[in-house]
């Protein structure tokens, strides 16, 4: 772990990723202290200072009702990060367990579980999340449910393919011969072999969950106002292009930097720990 971190700081690109992610996470945690107008998170209006281009103290400018855009971007990071963490904490164990079960038990269990996985995978990710989200009420919790529903199958696929290739390995045969239980073999013998790939994928996915969640709210199917959200900020601002460019450009770049940061780290991890494909 420590060694991995050390390697990450050696490569300029992964170092950049670490810096970006650290800044974003710290900003989200300490949003109350670093933002100039924490009260602008809610439904505040200030018609004396609305729709203004970047200036001091509104370094990202102000939105259509006069709220500080920088403040809202930082708070939106907080929402995005929480959402991504919750989605992965739920989706990964589900996906991994199903993948292990299908890959190790084989037979009809495998066939059934993998066909179900295929069904989820054969609806384009965004469309699946959109329809779930649309049918439920658009709230943060439902957003998490929708994204989780589209996310677990990818972990099933990943773990399934590793399990399949490990199934014939000698150490599993040895464990079976000494009478280890199926659960023991799956979670204590096979799972550790999947961990590097899972960690790499989770790092990359932290960014991609943020990306998908922002896409949902961009379409109006995500977090609802006044909760700040990067996707809906871009959507609201897009109507005022090109004059009020800051309304879209800053939240858009905020998404880009967050996802880019996680991708840089994930990419480096893939090289250190081994692939996720």
């Amino acid at each position: 772990m420590k060694k991995t971190l050390l390697i990450l700081t050696r490569n300029p690109l992964s170092l950049l990723g670490l810096i970006l992610v650290t800044i974003i996470v710290l900003a989200a945690i300490f949003a109350d202290f670093i933002t100039p107008f924490p009260e602008h998170v809610g439904a505040v209006v200030d018609f004396t200072n609305f729709n203004q281009p970047p200036h001091w103290p509104n370094i990202f400018g102000t939105d259509l009702v006069g709220r500080d855009l920088f403040t809202r971007v930082v708070y939106a990071y907080r929402v995005s990060l929480i959402l991504a963490a919750v989605v992965l904490i739920i989706a990964v164990p589900i996906g991994v367990s199903i993948g292990l079960t299908a890959g190790y038990l084989g037979g009809w269990t495998e066939y059934g579980l993998m066909r179900i996985t295929d069904i989820f995978l054969s609806i384009p990710p965004l469309v699946l999340a959109m329809s779930i989200m649309g049918l439920l009420e658009p709230t943060l919790t439902n957003g998490m449910i929708a994204v989780t529903a589209m996310w677990w199958p990818w972990y099933t696929r990943l773990v399934y393919s590793i399990t399949r290739s490990e199934r014939e390995e000698g150490y599993l045969l040895a464990a079976e011969v000494i009478g280890a239980s199926k659960l023991h073999i799956m979670f204590r013998e096979i799972l550790p072999n999947c961990v590097p790939s899972i960690v790499t994928k989770m790092t990359l996915d932290f960014g991609f969950v943020i990306l998908i969640a922002s896409s949902l709210s961009f379409l109006g199917l995500g977090v609802q106002p006044p909760t700040p959200d990067l996707g809906s900020m871009v959507a609201d601002g897009a109507k005022y292009l090109p004059d009020s460019w800051w309304l879209t450009v800053f939240p858009g770049l905020a998404i880009l930097f967050a996802v880019f940061g996680f991708n840089l780290i994930g990419d480096a991890l893939r090289e250190i720990l081994g692939g996720d494909q």
């Binding site: 054969s122 965004l126 961009f218 460019w245």
Partner: protein
Amino acid sequence: MPAIVRILARRLATSLVVLIGVSILIFAIARIIPGDPARIALGPNATADAVAVLRDKLHLNDSIIAQYGYFIADLFHGDLGISLYTNRAVTRDIADFLPATLELVFVSGLMMVMLGIPLGVLSARYRGTWIDHTIRLVTLLGVSAPGFVWAVILMLVFAYFVPIFPVAGRLSDGSGFQPITGFLLFDTLISGNIRAFGDALWHLILPAFALALSGIGQAARLVRSNMVETYNKPYIEMVEAYGFSARRIANRYAFRPSLIPSLTIIGLDFAAMLGNAFLVESVYAWPGLSKYGVAVILRKDLNAIVGTVLIISAMFLIVNIIVDLLVSVVNPRIRLSERPA
């Protein structure tokens, strides 16, 4: 039986199973949501009688299994029901909106393949050099933002600040061109209207590129990593030892074998564009499935939602079948195997 036919038959069979599964899944999601679909459709001011009539018409009083039975029976007649939002047949709505989306996705897919794959090959051939680092950085940026962010940035730069491309739509105002199939590039060509063709293409480039950017990035990164792996294979060392040119090794001997694992994923990325098109269409006011899809989702228009998702999934499966066939053409091991692989 030739291997290709066998693979096709098997894939079609699996796809059918999956498609039935998709229909059950999406149907189930649509029916377990809270609230009365008939009431939602008619709005709060409708009379109880009107709601009851609609419930009856939609078979909402039957069991969910019977409802699914009606749905499948209608589906076999090419009937996806009536959209409560437009009051027209869902199939007709989709037929109206789908071509614009498909055209966009198709051109984006083309860009993904024609730019992404060569970038990946270049990156792998010059692995470890500044060429590789640059391509990796740029492609990583490409995958790091959703389509709508690129759409906004590209629009701002290439339609407003440097106004090379049009801001929105599929044709210039007053072009007067009457679509035939809805695929404008195709329509303008067959009617010999080169001006309109150029116009349509001009409108298409920016949205298609915005949609393609993440696909280009994914394809390049994938091809690179698979090719770098191939470069460590003995058969590459062998052709290096025999002095084949670096260019030939890259473009043939390392590329072809690594294309096999890459193709499947590129196919998935291509299919994912069907969903991501929603994001780009709304920025460029592209008259595709996006506006309709979002509208029916927000209105909880069940028939339209189920129909849209089903059609998109069918497209998705078709793309995957085509990719599977391509893989078997590229991979002689599958093509020549006598028994099912």
